[in-house]
Amino acid sequence: MHRFANPARFMRLSAAVLPYVAAAAALTTLVGLYLALLVAPPDYQQGESVRIMYIHVPAAWMALMVYGAMALASAVGLVWRHPLAELAAREMAWIGAAFTLVCLVTGSLWGQPMWGTWWVWDARLTSVLILFFLYLGYLALAYAFDEPTRGARAAGILALVGVVNLPIIKFSVDWWNTLHQPASVVRMGGPAIAPSMLQPLLVMALAFFLYFVTVLLIRLRTALIERKIRALRLAEAERGAAPSMAAPA
């Protein structure tokens, strides 16, 4: 694993892979949106409003998945002090926070026509809001230190503590009664959703995942270049300061 996590090797590999992943993400998004908005049938209860699901559910899945990946990267950074893992965790936090926001906003827009309310404080909605705050807290902490490594370590611990929220979000609809429905896809006894609606949903989920990989690669490349510039500036400043410091002696 360390072989692939070498920054120079990562820059080379990611440059080669990035165009293909980006193209695949764009293509799946187009196909997914076509299937979700034009091909998929309306729901017997919710009518056309059900189409919000094709954005809301993939965003929610990605919000959870990205948090898990971010926590894993933080753990690798904390234990093995791997610089690329620390950077990856920080860059994933931005994307995960965006997915969580999309999930909350689309959920609210869906809740108003279906349930009759924009927001309620039930266990599912509240735990996802906490997930959003965990992402924001992670980012605030990661950028609160002059030295990026110290920020990454402090924020990494917060990310790991927040992992307890993931099973709470997933099982909140089973453990307590909520206004939010129980799981339709990942549940005991198989999906409770018609195949004609499940297929577009899974294509959209793949599109969201490929988008995540694309944006993560771009962000990681930028972060690595930024770090290099920072190191060069520091080295230059030291060289510039060296003669004046040596002068009095």
Binding site: P41, P42, L78, G116, A123
Partner: protein, 150 residues
């Protein structure tokens, strides 16, 4: 190598402690995290008119009646039933046999609701499939329960 090992063990131990602590806290909260009470909960807990609560269940088929803007219906979880009276607009999904969550007070055996929210289940299907299921007799409205037994 040993330092990395030690950090790994510390991390794993901390995560285990955190998991146990969370499980304890959640099991202690238990009942106070529910969004609504089922009619059976209300009967068992003897909740009086002094408390604003939410009740949830299915709108009993055949129980719905409207007079002007006032709506009367009964909320059931199969075991117990509570009559509800409400004045105001109802959400689109509100219908007999469908899940509902009402907020208000229980006064003399009647639940006076100030808010009524619709709740839907995890089933999604095209209208044709739903019709076909109903025609073939495989429709099971009881399974679309908003109020799962606790």
């Amino acid at each position: 190598m040993t330092r990395k090992r030690r950090r790994l063990y510390v991390l794993l131990a901390a995560m285990a402690c955190l998991g146990v602590a969370t499980a304890l806290v959640l099991s202690a909260f238990d009942d106070s995290l529910v969004f609504f009470y089922s009619p059976s909960d209300v009967v068992e807990k003897h909740i009086g008119p002094d408390r604003r609560i939410r009740i949830g269940g299915l709108v009993e088929p055949g129980s719905l009646s409207r007079q002007g803007t006032t709506v009367d219906f009964r909320v059931t979880d199969g075991a117990h039933t509570i009559p509800v009276t409400y004045q105001g607009a109802l959400p689109d999904l509100f219908r007999e046999g469908q899940g509902v969550v009402a907020e208000g007070r229980l006064e003399q055996g009647v639940f006076r609701a100030t808010t009524v929210l619709a709740k839907h289940d995890e089933k999604y299907m095209p209208p044709e499939v739903a019709d076909a299921l109903k025609r073939s007799g495989h429709w099971n409205p009881e399974a679309s329960g908003a109020a799962r037994p606790q």
